[in-house]
Structures are given as structure tokens and as C-alpha cells.
């Protein structure tokens, strides 16, 4: 393998691990009741974020929904600003107005995530339309869940994107649940990606827990989108490990079969990739420890900085409603 390829392969592993460790740290500190906002963790789903975003360039843009930490971090969003946002600090990425469900880092190309399921779907399509009209060569990538796929706006947006052959990658993170409700209670037995195909998108279905698989497919899809072949769609099967909202594990509620849970835990995107890298001779125990240490160091520093930042001043609440 070429050195550059080796580096980027390792770097993607590091990015997944970093997202995992950041969210574990958030979960561990949530009980202190200092992060006072709802929070949806993506632990277990790191390969979808890192794999898809690895296909994008710095100038490409992404949009997401309520479960957005991984997307934000993979696109290069500022870690300290995200943590500060969760702590309600003035230095947060949305200046304390948003919390976990409303992240933004425009410099990194993370254009916004919002809390209404489906809310960012047409907005992402509009951004892709602007890129096309202004001939910017940017690709827009949109993340959403299997539940979001049920919203009418999803289909209206795919229709317009296909009609205008817009440079957009739709990434459906199919974790088979919307809150506690399984896919089978919400949609008939037919594949999600087939509907995207029927709308005229180029669509595929993949194992979203295998980084190389996601990465290769995303590379090709982004390439096609950039070349003017129109909207692309990836349905990535994955699994959320923690509760829908909040820091804990909630399998005691019994809404997911223990066998399915065990099966998906064994398909950990991070440990599977670690094993693959081991086998390729790209990662050994010492190398892993180095990566872990560096991540831990970065996370500690980010929490420190976020917690040292001041809370917003009362009078600043009124700012940013309008431009002047």
C-alpha cells in the first residue's frame, strides 16, 4: 500500500475511534447534569459517518438531523465548540442557542443539523441546487434515518433532486428503529433503497458497519454526483447501541431482540476495522495505544476549554434574531 493510502486508512480508523471516545465521554459526564439538553448518541454507527464523509472534500457540504455528533466531527467540526454547545456556553458552535440537536461549523462545511425529522432534507437539496446553478463543483451530503425516509418531504426532495440531476449524496442510516418502533411497524416489507431508485436516484444498499465498504461506495457515488450524473443514494444498515435519546443503554425495555443486539455488537465498526488493519499489518497494539492516548488528550483538553468558557450573558439572548 502507498504511504498516503496507508495514512488515510489509519486516519479513518482514528476518526471513528475519536467519535466513539468523544461520545463515551459525553455519556459519562451527562449524569453530572451540566449538559442540559437532549442528546442522541451515534455510538455503533461511526462507520457510516466516517466512511461517507471520507469521500468528500473540504469544500463539500453536509447536513444532518438530531443524531449528528459523528457527522459533525467527521467533517472536521470543532470539537471544543461542540462540547461547549452541549454545556450551553456562549462559545458553543451555535452560541448556546442550539444544543446537541443544532450543530453548525460552516468553515468545516457542516451546514447545520436540526431537531425536526426531515427538516434538513429539502434544505440540503437546495444547497446542492445552488452549487449546480453557481457552478461551484461542490457535492452536498445529507444524513438521515430510516424513520426520516417516511416523511413526505423526503420524497418531494428526491423527486426534485432527480429532476434537476443535483450533485447530492443521500445517506440513509438505517438502524432499523425510530425511537422504540421497529421498521416493520412503520414501513411495508420492501427495501428503502428501491424507492430511491424508483425516484430516479442511483441507489445501493450496504453494510454500514464496514468502513471500507462504505468508503468505496461513497467514493464512487460522490464522483458520479460531481460529474453531473445526478443524485446518489446509499442505504447503510447499522445499529444504535445506546438509548434513542440520552446516555444510557436501554435494552432492558425489551423493544429490541437480545439476539439482534448481540449480533450487532459483534459487528462493531471500530473493532472490525481494527482487526482488518491488524491483519494488514497497519496497526499493532502499541500503535493503537498511541492513537487512544492522543484522542484522550484531545478530549480532556476540549472538555477543559469548554467548561472554562463562560455561560452566555442574559442580555445576549436577544441577539441574532435578525441581521440588524
Amino acid at each position: 500500500m502507498y504511504l498516503q493510502e496507508r495514512r488515510s486508512t489509519l486516519d479513518l480508523f482514528r476518526q471513528m475511534l475519536r467519535i466513539r471516545r468523544v461520545e463515551e465521554a459525553l455519556a459519562a459526564r451527562y449524569a453530572e447534569q451540566e449538559m442540559r439538553c437532549p442528546m442522541h448518541l451515534c455510538i455503533g454507527q461511526e462507520a457510516t459517518a466516517v466512511g461517507a464523509i471520507s469521500a468528500l472534500g473540504q469544500d463539500d457540504r453536509i447536513f444532518s438531523g438530531h443524531r449528528a455528533h459523528g457527522h459533525y466531527l467527521a467533517k472536521g467540526g470543532d470539537l471544543t465548540a461542540m462540547i461547549a454547545e452541549l454545556y450551553g456556553r456562549a462559545s458553543g458552535c451555535s452560541k448556546g442557542r442550539g444544543g446537541s440537536m443544532h450543530l453548525i461549523d460552516t468553515e468545516a462545511g457542516f451546514m447545520g443539523s436540526t431537531a425536526i425529522v426531515g427538516g434538513t432534507v429539502p434544505v440540503a437539496v437546495g444547497a446542492a441546487w445552488a452549487s449546480q446553478l453557481r457552478d461551484e463543483g461542490r457535492v452536498v451530503c445529507l444524513f438521515f434515518g430510516d424513520g426520516c425516509f417516511e416523511q413526505g418531504v423526503m420524497h418531494e426532495s428526491m423527486n426534485f433532486a432527480a429532476l434537476h440531476r443535483l450533485p447530492i449524496l443521500f445517506v440513509c442510516e438505517n438502524n432499523h428503529y425510530a425511537v422504540y418502533t421497529p421498521l416493520e411497524e412503520r414501513q411495508p416489507a420492501r427495501p428503502i433503497h428501491a424507492i430511491a431508485s424508483a425516484h430516479g436516484l442511483q441507489a445501493q444498499e450496504l453494510d454500514g458497519n464496514r468502513l471500507p465498504t462504505v468508503r468505496t461506495a461513497a467514493d464512487e457515488a460522490v464522483h458520479r454526483a460531481r460529474a453531473g450524473d445526478g443524485p446518489q443514494f446509499l442505504e447503510l444498515h447499522t445499529w444504535r447501541w445506546r438509548e434513542h435519546c440520552g446516555p444510557d443503554v436501554d435494552d432492558h425495555l425489551g423493544y429490541r431482540a437480545p439476539e439482534a443486539q448481540a449480533d450487532w455488537l459483534a459487528r462493531c465498526p471500530i473493532e472490525n476495522e481494527a482487526a482488518r488493519l491488524h491483519a494488514l499489518g497497519l496497526l499493532d497494539d502499541i500503535g493503537r495505544q498511541h492513537i487512544e492516548n492522543a484522542i484522550q488528550h484531545e478530549i480532556d483538553a476540549a472538555f477543559d476549554a469548554a467548561l472554562r468558557a463562560p455561560l452566555p450573558r442574559v442580555e445576549d439572548m436577544y441577539g441574532h434574531l435578525h441581521g440588524q
Binding site: 458553543g92 442557542r97 440537536m101 416523511q151 422504540y180 411497524e185 412503520r186 414501513q187 452566555p312
Partner: protein
């Protein structure tokens, strides 16, 4: 508290109803069970209705009792499902839809406003839409800009929609039963913080009439007309005002549309002063509407300009640091009431107002306010 507050439902001639202490959640759960039991055309549908959390417990156990055909989850498709419920309603069913946040009902505004509200009228009364849409208003713990809106004025602006906002458990139960029995669409708005309130609730099925306010405290000096959770804040403010020599009459409006203007007029005729408190924004809101009506119809009763307490004209910011400033509470109500009554706020007043500042963080409900009422 007013004597026999249930007189409008259970007249003095009737034997007194058996009562039970319940939370808002239990009362709503009871009401839903009774409605489903009483009328086999009633359906209950919403994201999470049969799930382990059961809409904060309000729908717990109902699927087991009434089966998956009548108590069901739904796809994440608020707009279509609202239209589908309207179609079922004009075809002889009585759907109750639930949104865990009122913000999600915004996706269905087309169906609610263009169809549900007008179907009866635009076809000359040949069809009806007996639909209830339960919408929960989020507050606290960083619900933020898209999970904490209090949109009653938006719905109340639309002719054809009835809008109800219960506070106490007995009203939650009686108003929900009445909403389900009503032959027109009712937007039933539950502030999240009314769910843990405790109070005495009549057992069995009963209906509390829509569009009727209820006096929750008698007073002679100022009328405080309140919507939803602001009733709780106003009752707390009233105790402080009493220590400052002002007797406030607190009227829980219970419905936004129809709006019980006569009840407020009667009270203002006695007190000469009016303060209106709502959980929504100031501008173009419910407080403005009620003040306008009283000013137009009862100008001669007013001895001073009315005032209002409502949310600032800003989206709800997420940071907990702003919660206490964003949400007006008992202290703001008491202070405004003093101003309306022309009381100068000196040291004594300031001291009493300060006692209303609670130690509970403003982004979680004050446990002192949970009743029993």
C-alpha cells in the same frame, strides 16, 4: 380556591362524584381509556403511542386493552397521517392523534388548516371532522428552538379549530373526554409541566365543557387570566400579592378557542384591573387577543391599563443559562400585577417578590408546584 369548582359539571343537585387523587398523566390515561371503551369508533394513533414509554405514560396499557387496530403507532409522516385521520373522521371514526411535541404538528398545518378546520363549512355542513390532536408543549432541559414552542395562538387564529389547554388533572380528564365527544376538530395542548401536577379527579366518565374558564382563586383587586402552566405561576404569585395587600382573582381560561370572554368581563367588572398570562409569545398572541376583547367590551370597568406576561418574541434558546430569563414565572406575574394596580414597588414589595425566586433551576419544573391542588 373557589367554592365547588366542579359546579358546572356536577350540579349541586347531583350526588357528589367519587374522587381520586391523580397526576395529570394518570388523568389523561384514564380519559383515553374511558373514551376508547365508551365508543368503539374511537382510535388512538401517534408516534410512540404503544411504545414502552407510552407518551410520558399517558397511553400506557391502552394497546393491551383495546388492541393494535385501535391503539397504534404510525410512520413518521405527520402531514399524511393527519389527512388520513381526517378521512377516517369524515367516514365515521373518531381519531385521537398524539404529537410528543407540538412542533411536529407543524408538518401537518396544511391538513389541519385547509381541510380539518374547513371541511364542515366549505361543504355546507354535510360532513364533520371529529378529530382530536393532542400536542405536547416541551419545556426545560434544553428543549430549544424546535421542541419548546407554545403555538396556541397559531391554531386559535383559524376559524373552525377549537383549542384547549388544560392545567389541572380533573380538567385534563374532563376536557379530553369533551374534546373526543366533540364533532369538530379540537387541538388539545398539554404543557409538559402539567403532567406531574396532582389533584383530585372525579372517577368515571365526565365531560368538562370546552370554551369555559374556571375561577381558581377569588379576589377583589385584580383579575389574572391565565393560560396553561401560567395558572400555576399565577396562583403562586397570588399568595405573595395577598401578603402585599392585593387580592388577585385567578381565572384559568382552560380554552383558547372558544375564548370565555364573559367570564373575564364579569371578574374585571369587580376588580377593575386585568393581567393576562400565557405560555406563548407576546406578539399577535393570546394575551393580546384577550386584552383587546376586554378593552373593547369592558372599557368602562377598567381602572388602569391592562398588562400581559408572555414569552419574549424570540425562539427558545437552548442554553440553560437563559431559561430563567426566557420563561416568565410567578415573580414576573406578581410584579406586573402590582404595576397594574398602581402599587409602587418599594423595599417591602421587592422583598416579597424575591421570595418568589425559586432555588429550582428554571429548566426543570418546580417541585413545590406539583400539588395536590
Amino acid at each position: 380556591m373557589a367554592s365547588n369548582p366542579l359546579a358546572d359539571i356536577f350540579p349541586p343537585s347531583a350526588p357528589p362524584p367519587a374522587m381520586r387523587k391523580q397526576t395529570g398523566i394518570e388523568a389523561l390515561n384514564d380519559a383515553l381509556g374511558l373514551c376508547l371503551q365508551r365508543d368503539p369508533t374511537t382510535l388512538l394513533i401517534g408516534e410512540g403511542v404503544p411504545d414502552p414509554k407510552g407518551i410520558f405514560g399517558t397511553t400506557a396499557g391502552l394497546r393491551q386493552r383495546f388492541g393494535p387496530q385501535r391503539v397504534l403507532d404510525m410512520p413518521l409522516a405527520e402531514n399524511a397521517l393527519t389527512g388520513i385521520c381526517i378521512g377516517a373522521a369524515i367516514s365515521g371514526l373518531r381519531p385521537i392523534m398524539v404529537h410528543q411535541r407540538i412542533d411536529f404538528a407543524l408538518l401537518a398545518m396544511d391538513q389541519l388548516i385547509n381541510n380539518a378546520a374547513k371541511w364542515r363549512y366549505m361543504f355546507g355542513g354535510q360532513a364533520q371532522v371529529p378529530l382530536v390532536v393532542r400536542c405536547i408543549v416541551g419545556r426545560g432541559w434544553g428543549q430549544g428552538p424546535q421542541h419548546a414552542q407554545s403555538l396556541q395562538s397559531l391554531f386559535a387564529h383559524i376559524p373552525g379549530l377549537k383549542v384547549v389547554m388544560p392545567v389541572f388533572p380533573d380538567d385534563a380528564k374532563g376536557l379530553l373526554c369533551a374534546a373526543v365527544a366533540d364533532d369538530d376538530p379540537v387541538i388539545f395542548i398539554e404543557h409538559r409541566w402539567i403532567h406531574p401536577l396532582r389533584g383530585k379527579v372525579p372517577t368515571g366518565y365526565f365531560e368538562t365543557p370546552l370554551g369555559k374558564a374556571r375561577r381558581r382563586r377569588e379576589g377583589s383587586d385584580i383579575t389574572i387570566a391565565t393560560f396553561s402552566y401560567m395558572t400555576i405561576e399565577a396562583l403562586s404569585a397570588a399568595r405573595t400579592l395577598a401578603r402585599l395587600g392585593i387580592e388577585a382573582e385567578v381565572i384559568d381560561m382552560r380554552s383558547v378557542s372558544p375564548l370565555d370572554v364573559p367570564a373575564v368581563l364579569r371578574s374585571v367588572a369587580k376588580t377593575g384591573h386585568l393581567l393576562v398570562a400565557d405560555t406563548g409569545h407576546h406578539s399577535f398572541g393570546v394575551t393580546a387577543e384577550l386584552i383587546a376583547r376586554i378593552t373593547c367590551q369592558g372599557f368602562d370597568h377598567l381602572r388602569a391599563a391592562p398588562a400581559s406576561v408572555a414569552l419574549p418574541d424570540l425562539p427558545c434558546p437552548t442554553s440553560h443559562a437563559w431559561a430563567g430569563h426566557y420563561y416568565p414565572a410567578a415573580a414576573s406575574i406578581a410584579e406586573q400585577a402590582l404595576r397594574v394596580c398602581g402599587v409602587r414597588i418599594g423595599e417591602a414589595q421587592r422583598h416579597e417578590l424575591n421570595t418568589l425566586q425559586s432555588d429550582t433551576p428554571a429548566d426543570i419544573p418546580n417541585p413545590d408546584y406539583c400539588g395536590p391542588f
